[in-house]
């Protein structure tokens, strides 16, 4: 009996292998089409990954990649015990947290609002207009912010005209975070609506028709049809977003920081740049970068698990 089942198993396995081969043969051209993309990932993403090994070395340009001595976790302990670590960690997380709370729902809300617009030409125009900020570089946005918010800028002139005291937006640690979050929302909200609008366009119109017949008003339609239909998209994007929780966007922070807000503006991204490129501590900054990525992976996995536990499909 046992022998027989074993035999069947082997047979099944062979059958399966044959099936797989046949499948590949059937879609041979599709597999070939995948090759350039695969090569891209191998050459530009996987091979350079060996570079992270220098996080465990004391990399010295003269000794080179292979000659530099191994130091184990020294770079990591140096980083975790450095006086900067606590501050960087708190700053990074705070900005990310605010970005998540205020920045993440913004495109959802905007997409839903756009979806309710009846006049097509009007909707299209608005859609195009809100995409524009995404294509403006951070350098421009930072200088716009400086022009608008400095002590002689339009905003402060307005505040003064209202009879209030000028607010030092750019030179105060208290106003730094709102300014940063505001910039991000202004720049990315419009572009972020694209995916949600696509999801909204995919909702079956019959659902709405049925709901109208059942006497559902617009809010009920929104609550019972629209929102559940894009829930999956929202959750997928949220999970992906979690992976970037320690990325604050180097350009923005680098451009907006100055001596008076450095207590809140120094984050991992800027730190990696200063240590790695400006100071030449390659191993150290690689270790910091690796730490960031590890946190990202852990967060993606755990939020994916959570999503699955809550009955959603997750991303993998």
């Amino acid at each position: 009996m046992a022998e027989m089942s074993a035999g069947i198993k082997i047979k099944n396995k062979r059958k399966k292998q044959g099936y797989k081969l046949r499948q590949i043969k059937k879609d041979l051209w599709l597999y070939i089409l995948v090759i350039p993309g695969l090569l891209h990932f191998i050459v530009f993403k996987y091979l350079p990954m060996w570079g992270i090994l220098i996080a465990f070395k004391d990399y010295n340009a003269y000794l080179g990649f292979f000659g530099s001595p191994w130091v184990g976790f020294k770079q990591f302990t140096d980083f975790f015990t450095s006086p900067e670590f606590g501050r960087l960690f708190v700053n990074t997380l705070t900005i990310s947290f605010y970005n998540l709370i205020f920045g993440f729902p913004a495109p959802v809300i905007m997409a839903l609002m756009l979806n309710e617009i009846r006049k097509q030409w009007y909707k299209r125009t608005i859609q195009t207009l809100v995409y524009i900020p995404h294509f403006i570089s951070w350098v421009i946005i930072a200088s716009l912010t400086y022009t608008l918010f400095n002590s002689q800028g339009v905003i402060n002139k307005y505040i003064a005209a209202m009879g209030n005291e000028a607010v030092p937006f750019l030179t105060s640690a208290d106003t730094f975070r709102p300014l940063i979050i505001g910039q991000t929302i202004w720049k990315e909200t419009g572009f972020g609506t694209i995916i949600y609008l696509a999801a909204l366009a995919g909702i079956d119109v019959q659902l709405y028709e049925a709901a109208v017949i059942d006497g559902a008003n617009r809010f009920k339609q929104f609550w019972h049809i629209t929102l559940p239909s894009i829930k999956g998209t929202i959750i997928t994007l949220l999970i992906l977003r979690m992976g970037h929780i320690l990325d604050n966007g180097f350009d923005q922070l680098f451009l907006m920081s100055n001596s008076l807000n450095r207590s809140v503006s120094e984050v991992f991204d800027v730190y990696v740049y200063t240590m790695g490129i400006t100071r030449g501590a390659f191993s150290f900054s690689t270790a910091v970068g690796l730490f960031k990525s590890l946190i990202g992976i852990v967060l993606i996995y755990s939020s994916n698990r959570l999503a699955k536990a809550a009955g959603e499909s997750g991303i993998f």
Binding site: I32, P83, S151, A166, L260, R262, R279, F282
Partner: protein, 518 residues
């Protein structure tokens, strides 16, 4: 051929052609590269073998062309084949760090700053030739001033050929026409600056009927107030670091520094300093404030140039107006009424020789002999002034005047980056004030030049932690001037600085200082 076979053939072609293309393209590339290399060598083997030298330099406005006249003249003079790769000046530091990490080193590397951490790491790893003993073999290189060599050394050993710069550079620049109307003398004292700032801020010298002039424009560089050392020294303090009670301590731990801050705080309070000074880059002062007539008094290393819009506008009204009628400079005096200047290190980095590119001593000697020619008066004139009667002409045998300023800026100015001994060349002047300024810079009383005594010293705990240490002080400094913290807050920042690693920096610098001056 059957239809089916044609299809199969086509299918194969689709796959094979791109592959062939890729292979053939890379093949071509390598073949061509090899070919050109050969040609290159053949060309020169017939000549008397000029010495090849590759280096990377930074340019500020436009990279000079490959056939730059000065380089070819220099090649003739030194029997060299100098090959320069130009990179933008603003990102040269980044370029340097990346270059150091790469395997391809040029023969000569321009080190932007002797204290650069990557450079020091490279020295420790044995990446560079030590030049201390070699320089003595060359007639010109052996004449480099001892102070420069001292400031260019790392732990008493020399690894670079320093680029000489003036020691006396930081100065007060002001609108001389406004000062004349206000009846004020040159602001060469602290009180002079204060009075002028007050006059400029409250008076309407730009005649726009608006109270919008910044009395005294301050700017920042690397998140520090630019040229603040000039003020501290004028108050009688140290230039960054000095010696007190047998210890090397930073300027900001002295009472003179606090006095400077109190003075700035008072000016800020009275509205003589822009409320946005902390976010004003020092490079913005001239284009954003001076050129818009929003300020007439600031600290700087240089005068606004001859094409400055304010000057040009004045000259349009009255062609006889010269630069000194609008802009003027002053060097600060100390409490005793004598000139007291925060001296520079006298060097702006220098040239190091990588062992990875320069394999043996004979090659090093070849390269050093090129630098010996560069260091000579003839070489320096060529590099800084250009070719006589093409780029410059001598006026009264005293100073050089550009024949065509546009050509001069394009062809000569960038090559000045090679200038290892600019003092040997003629003063480049286009009007009276430049001659006066350069002469003022070249003449000084040694006792009035306050140097940063840590310039030749190293402290590992300071350099490894300098970012954090600087942050503590600059944050407190700005907050103090802006009135956000009081004296207790300032003293607390000093304590923070001590416990964040400042104490060990003081100890290490003191040790290094005692060792040096035994």
């Amino acid at each position: 051929m059957s239809k089916c076979a044609v299809m199969a053939y086509k299918k194969i072609l689709v796959f094979v052609i791109p592959v062939l293309l890729i292979v053939s393209m890379t093949g071509c590339k390598t073949a061509r590269a090899n070919g050109s290399n050969k040609d290159y060598k053949d060309d020169y083997s017939s000549l008397i073998q000029p010495v090849e030298m590759k280096l990377v330099l930074g340019y500020s406005e436009e990279a000079p062309s490959k056939d730059n006249l000065i380089i070819s003249e220099l090649n003739k003079l030194a029997n060299a084949d100098i090959n320069i790769e130009w990179t933008p000046m603003v990102s040269y530091n980044d370029k340097f760090n990346v270059l150091m990490a790469s395997n391809e080193h040029p023969d000569v590397i321009l080190v932007p700053d002797v204290k650069n951490a990557v450079f020091v790491d490279g020295i420790i790893a044995g990446m560079f030739w030590e030049l201390t003993s070699y320089l003595q073999e060359y007639p010109e290189l052996s004449q480099i001033k001892p102070l420069l060599l001292k400031n260019a050394s790392v732990e008493g050993k020399l690894y670079i050929i320093p680029r000489e710069r003036a020691l006396k550079r930081k100065m007060v620049v002001y609108r001389s026409d406004w000062a004349k109307v206000a009846g004020l003398d040159a602001p060469d004292t602290i009180d002079g600056i204060y009075n002028m700032a007050k006059a400029f801020a409250y008076g309407d010298y730009d005649r726009n009927m608006q109270n919008d002039t910044i009395g005294f424009a301050l700017g920042t560089v690397n998140n520090e107030i630019d040229c603040i050392d000039a003020l501290v020294v004028a108050f009688g303090g140290f230039n960054r670091w000095g010696i007190k009670d047998g210890k090397v301590i930073p300027a900001f731990m002295t009472e003179e520094y606090l006095e400077t801050l109190n003075w700035l705080r008072k000016m800020f309070d009275e509205g003589l300093i822009s409320p946005d000074f902390a976010i004003t880059k020092t490079t913005q002062i001239v284009p954003d404030f001076v050129d818009k007539e929003k300020t007439g008094l600031w600290l700087s290393y240089k005068l606004p140039n001859r094409s400055d819009p304010v000057l040009v506008a004045k000259q349009r009204e009255d062609p006889s107006i010269t630069r000194e009628d609008v802009f003027e400079f002053a060097f600060l005096k100390g409490p005793g009424g004598k000139e007291r200047i925060a001296a520079e290190t006298g060097i702006s980095g220098g040239f190091a020789f990588s062992k990875r590119a320069v394999k043996d001593e004979s090659r090093l000697r070849e390269l050093l002999s090129i630098f010996d020619v560069i260091q000579s008066r003839e070489g320096q004139i060529l590099i800084n002034n250009g070719v006589p009667n093409v780029h410059f002409e001598l006026v009264e045998n005293k100073y050089a005047k550009a024949v065509d300023p546009a050509v001069f800026n394009k062809e000569v100015s960038p090559i000045g980056q090679l200038g290892t001994g600019g003092g040997k060349a003629y003063i480049i002047a286009d009007d009276e004030i430049t001659v006066r300024l350069d002469n003022a810079r070249r003449t000084f009383d040694e006792s009035g030049m306050i140097s940063d005594i840590t310039a030749p010293l190293t402290s590992t705990s300071y350099s490894s932690n300098s970012m954090n240490l600087l942050r503590i002080i600059s944050e407190a400094q700005f907050n103090y001037i802006m009135g956000k913290i009081n004296e207790n807050g300032w003293r607390k920042a000093l304590e923070d600085w001590m416990s964040a690693g400042g104490a060990s920096a003081i100890e290490e610098f003191t040790q290094a200082y005692n060792k040096e001056n035994k």
